[in-house]
Symmetry: C2
Subunit: 590 residues, 2 copies
Amino acid sequence: MYRTHNCGELRMDHLDQQVVLSGWVQIGRDLGGMTFVDLRDRYGITQLVFNMDDNDELCQKARKLGREFVIKVEGVVKERASKNPNRPTGDIEIIVSSMDILNASLVPPFTIEDESDGGDDLRMKYRYLDIRRNPVKENLIFRGQLAFQTRKHLTENNFIEVETPVLIKSTPEGARDFVVPSRMNPGQFYALPQSPQTYKQILMVAGMDRYFQIVKCFRDEDLRADRQPEFTQIDCEMAFVTRDQILDTFEGLTKYLFKAMLDVDLPEFPKMAYDEAMKRYGSDKPDTRFGMELVEMNDLVKGHGFGVFDSAEYVGAICAKGIAEKYSNKDLKGLTDWVMRPQIGAKGLVYIKFNADGSIKSTIGKFYSDDVINGWKDALGAEIGDIVFMLSGETEKTRKQLNELRLEMGNRLGLRKAGEYNPLWVVDFPLLEWDEESNRFHAMHHPFTSPKKEEVSRMLDGDHETMKSLKADAYDLVINGVEIGGGSIRIHDRALQQKNFDLLGFTKEEAESQFGFLMGAFEYGAPPHGGIAFGFDRLCAVMNGVDSIRDFIAFPKNNSGRDMMIDAPSLIDEDQLDELNIKLTTEVEV
Amino acid sequence: MYRTHNCGELRMDHLDQQVVLSGWVQIGRDLGGMTFVDLRDRYGITQLVFNMDDNDELCQKARKLGREFVIKVEGVVKERASKNPNRPTGDIEIIVSSMDILNASLVPPFTIEDESDGGDDLRMKYRYLDIRRNPVKENLIFRGQLAFQTRKHLTENNFIEVETPVLIKSTPEGARDFVVPSRMNPGQFYALPQSPQTYKQILMVAGMDRYFQIVKCFRDEDLRADRQPEFTQIDCEMAFVTRDQILDTFEGLTKYLFKAMLDVDLPEFPKMAYDEAMKRYGSDKPDTRFGMELVEMNDLVKGHGFGVFDSAEYVGAICAKGIAEKYSNKDLKGLTDWVMRPQIGAKGLVYIKFNADGSIKSTIGKFYSDDVINGWKDALGAEIGDIVFMLSGETEKTRKQLNELRLEMGNRLGLRKAGEYNPLWVVDFPLLEWDEESNRFHAMHHPFTSPKKEEVSRMLDGDHETMKSLKADAYDLVINGVEIGGGSIRIHDRALQQKNFDLLGFTKEEAESQFGFLMGAFEYGAPPHGGIAFGFDRLCAVMNGVDSIRDFIAFPKNNSGRDMMIDAPSLIDEDQLDELNIKLTTEVEV
């Protein structure tokens, strides 16, 4: 037997008990005739004591233990002379009477401590050491428990978890597929699912009524901190439901998860139309933890001889409260440079400083008198002590820039508070986006999204311009400016689905060969249905106030899609290629 | 709103309530001035009544409903004149006041009834209709609930579910990998995991202590009824445990699942060594629901001048109780033909019939007197009325043939009872199998399996012959003759792992390039660990007394690895191939 207890559970209740513990040597300290070893496992740390006077040989052996050695000890639980109130086991220690070294350890490339991670490359290569560190370990445990709580809540609400296939069919729509050559079907390929979208709809046609799955999805796209080639979704679908029933159901799930995992009571989730979100925040995923909303200034600023504003399609402003005294010219210059970086792309930054003495300092004083500017105060919600920032240009682009500036100012002013959660349903998205370049429509959500009920006849009969204004019965769940989930009411009618494929530029043959099975299914009694998918990795991150999803993935890939620990992908044998009826068109080093 | 209740929940308690129901038309019956429609959803069937006298138009509309039309009705709950005690909703019916047809349906290729499935090909192509059938639907619900109960029990026992990657590294050991070309790493490939074996061991090195995952695994092998290219495992690993602690833990899980899902109390699981199982049953996965064990007859039968037995390495027998009168010469001839089929491969079948009158009829009467044969009775456990069957030849082969014969007789005699569950741990497997053909050892379980503790020094120092006799610390869970799970204590020492790779014919370079990360991890404080994996699809099947795992998979593939519904795999675009730096070496029809 390796242990009677783990390293996190002994307390004063256990005094004088004979116990066996196993774990890793966190650190050893020699003090005179005593050696103290902190023994660590997943559950905690327990202090071991070796006494030279009691057992010289054993104590000498303990002194030779290196960090991360794996040992098993037997001993008796005693009260500590100097207790450690920061550690749940801090009242006791183990007076060790025997010890086995179960495994030695080389000196690890970084110490197993909260703040010592050795940098990203080392962390990934030695992920087994990285996971021993508390923050990473706790993240993985959080993720596991979040998955369990999700399943518990959905199961209790009559959802059935159904596993859908991983080896499916490649469809050029959407992101790039990972493909898998089929040995048994030469020249043919499976694809890994970007999501189980069509399967979950098929399950609704199949009468499963309420489906969910926590499921791996795959996209062969260029990577960044919040994107991985494989990621996990909480994937859900319901039949015979209205949009609001879906929103209620998953608002319920979200509230349940925040309560169960964080003991946070979320407020009611407000609903905001896409158009309103774009107008007020310049974003379809606004962080509503703070105000600083976009104010359209067109009517106020035009006709004063300032050409830039006069010629702009859109002039917008945000008001940063109480920073007039804090922000020097240099700060403002810095912020101007920030908005002019290519990532933001503004051509310049207009600011208006409402000084404490009532004076105004602005970059547009030449064109607007202080009286005129003071007249804007109400519209801007500005007061003495504030700075207003203004951007102008093409509407959509400028709103996006203002959104970036708003978020940046929110960060700088500490308005995006950790531990505060503001959920929001964004609804009524456009159904289609016109793409000038490819001269066709793209689905804003995906090709299976239904237009709102009142739009169906417009969609079936309308002209090209009508299509641009169609609203989808689609919705996103946004928390603190992060899109946590998205979904829609689906089309369940063959003719409407065919019409949508037409609009999206599919030929009849393409639509049939790729999605014929789904349109076929719609002819055999498809019920009205809709659903949602949550980005599970991202949900973990947002609940913990963290940006990177990698911290919640046990074995993430780097930006080149490599697993640094196992060193994948890798070359494969010529024989394997032959069997799969493929060959490389690129030279590789062997 | 589509419904106030589902089609399975209305009872006498709901009398006179106004309700809205939605679902599928199971069947309609016109009786005089009334039309009855059975409305079905996942939860049940409710009878709808349309009355010509009350609403002629509505009743006419109802008469035109086809099977599988999707409708929504509003009406009032009334007590039925003639109740249907076989249906939970059978006491009531809905007097319909209004109806919407939500979707029409073509005439389905088979009716949605328990016994009508239209054959395998139609079932798979129209899987969305097949799943509407109760037996398939119930199987999927069973599977979903079994997964949930598994997670619940393991979570309550401190196991953490950790998701391991799907895009990993190809290793030629074991079955054939499915591979995925990497666009970002030209010429390189990911592989889909045959199991998360190395990752779960890494998680033990990482200190996760108790890991589990219900996870998709992939093998590119030729298919049959109980094998799919993608299948699901309950994958588990524990650190600081002995074999018996692992067996206790997963005996606990199995008992919990049988109780929770089937209300079956399983008995204690006996343990049987591999050698004993082979001796007594001729199989390492014996069905222990019945006796009819193999009896080795060598000492009794040799030296009586019967050349076949005298020259055989092994002569074995089974005794089929009480069938002497039932089994005619023709039956015995049939059974002889059965064992001589190539799938079994016996050269003939010796039988001894202990007739009711005390006489003996046998195929070996020429060599053995009745007295001699009667003298075998004790050893055989044979009595008057029994038939004894004997086979002879090379030991291992003959035992396997006797095992097949035993199972066949068990089936014929109804000894393999549905609803009876006999679990068994088979332990102490050989570590290595010598393969004459390739002139090297194969791992009986897998290359990471530890020899039993007392064998380690023999393994490190022994000669070639010693290796053949090494016992592994490996175990299988067998229920009713089906291997439900298997696992082992793992090697956690670099030198021993290296030695095992040597024995398995890996060069140092191969071992390093394929498993260097794992051996590296063993040098940084790897704890003793072990685990198990359950075949989840098979567990579903065995718990339901079914042979085929396909019945428990929502969207299985056929024997050519095809998804008949979505028609995958399929051709992909030339552009896709180019991006992946591969081309086909086979001609395909476009």
